[in-house]
Every structure is written in C-alpha cells, then in structure tokens.
Symmetry: C2
Subunit: 141 residues, 2 copies
C-alpha cells in the first residue's frame, strides 16, 4: 500500500477519498478481475455518490502506473485486477463452461522470448490466455 501511495505521489496524483475507495476495492478483491461497473458498486459502499466517470478515470490512471492490470476476456468489456508487485506477466485460464478465470503461476516463456530477441525483437511483456475447462467443470462433463 505504501508503495502504491509513493507511486501516486511521484506522479502528482492526489490521494482523494474516491481513489482510496477504488484502491481498497481492488485490494480486497486481489486475484479477481473486476469490470468498471463492478468496481463502481463496491466503491459506492464507501462513497455512495461516486460517479462512473471517476471510476473509469481512476482505473485508467492506476493501470497506467502498473498498479492495476487491464485485460479483456469476454466481449467488449475491460476488466482490471491488482498487479502483483512487479510481476508483469499475466497467464490466465478461462473456463469455457463457468467463465471462471484463474491465474497460472510460473514464467515458462523465457525460452520463446529469447528466441525472438535473436530475431531482432525486443520483448517487454507478454500475455497468455488458455481456454478450456476448469477442474470442476471438467469433472462434470
């Protein structure tokens, strides 16, 4: 949390009640992937009159500082999750049956990235999504 405060401070971002509320929502939901609307409802439990525009602005700011990670799973709706410290790599498994999204740990793409380096690319980050069935849904079928 302190690290986050410092980051905001360094970028001349004021720590308003609304931003604290959004941050708290994201931290209480660490590991989950929330849409802007979902964040709005949660944030309203703290600041009842917070507006959707502020939520969008805050989420974008936090994402631009790598405090949040922004991605899209289903159709045309972005989701945000709290970044784990300086972990830049995001590996997700999306269950085609129940929609559950889980995280895969481990960075097994090192090999592939270095191959691209040799071809002249400079790779900064990557993003990996698996589509299939989670253990629960797999058992049912």
């Amino acid at each position: 949390m302190d690290a986050i405060n410092t980051k905001l401070y360094r970028n001349n971002y004021r720590l308003t009640g609304q931003r604290k509320a959004v941050l708290n929502v994201m931290m209480e939901n660490k590991g989950r992937h929330l849409s802007a609307e979902e964040v709005l409802w949660e944030a309203r439990k703290r600041i009842p009159n917070i507006g959707i525009a502020t939520v969008y602005r805050t989420l974008e700011k936090l994402a631009s500082l790598d405090i949040l990670y922004k991605s899209m799973f289903e159709s045309n709706k972005f989701r945000y999750e709290l970044s784990e410290d300086d972990k830049h790599h995001h590996h997700h498994v999306v269950c085609l049956s129940c929609g559950q999204i889980s995280e895969v740990s481990g960075d097994l793409l090192y090999e592939l990235e270095s191959k691209l380096d040799q071809q002249g690319y400079r790779i900064i980050d990557h993003e990996l999504k698996f589509y299939g069935y989670c253990p629960l849904c797999n058992k049912d079928s």
Copy 2:
C-alpha cells in the same frame, strides 16, 4: 477456398455476393488483422452498397466456423484474420512503437498445457501475445 465453400454449405449458409466479397478481402489480406470498418471499405470496392451490418454478420459467421480468427489488440475494437487451416494457436508480437502485428510460429506451450492437464484442467486452445519492439523499431531506438 473450396474447403471454405464446403464449410459454408454444410452449415446452410448461402454464398451471397456480399459474403464472397468479405471472404475475398480476408484472403487478399491473409496475415493481416482487419477491423470491421477496414473490411467494409475494402468490400465496398466490390459491392459499393454493402452495409456495415452485413460485414459484422459475415465476420461473426465466418469466425464461428473458424474460418476467421477474432481478437483484440488495442482498445475496444475487434480485429479479424484468416485462419490458417486448422491451426488453432495464435501467437502474436505487437510492436509498441509502430503497432505492427506479426505472427510467431511454433507451438511451445505444449509443456505448460500438459502441466495444467495434470491439475485437472482440460485445455482446448490458447492465445499468446508478446508486447515489445519489432526489429525495425528496435534498431531506430
């Protein structure tokens, strides 16, 4: 092309002039990732009064038959590319400087998928994106 025709036929989709136009646009741009609007402009060179709704409907139909592959790179806009036969895996490198999107060949995720299998998942497909700088932009910087 014949394989595609057969696929459409088997699914009771009529081969209209509009669909032919969209298909031709996609085939002429094999390897590129086009937005619905870009497809519209190209298709209008053949069928000047083709409507945007038809383009969307056609792209969705073709994607549902795995003739096209649908994905999103930048903000809230889907892009479509011609699928290479029955290749299901899509590995892209997105250049953060010029925006160029190139394809990475090879399926190096087998190992990771089998690990997930052991955990009870059943993985159907995956999608991988690298973000960085392409050889040309990398040289400039």
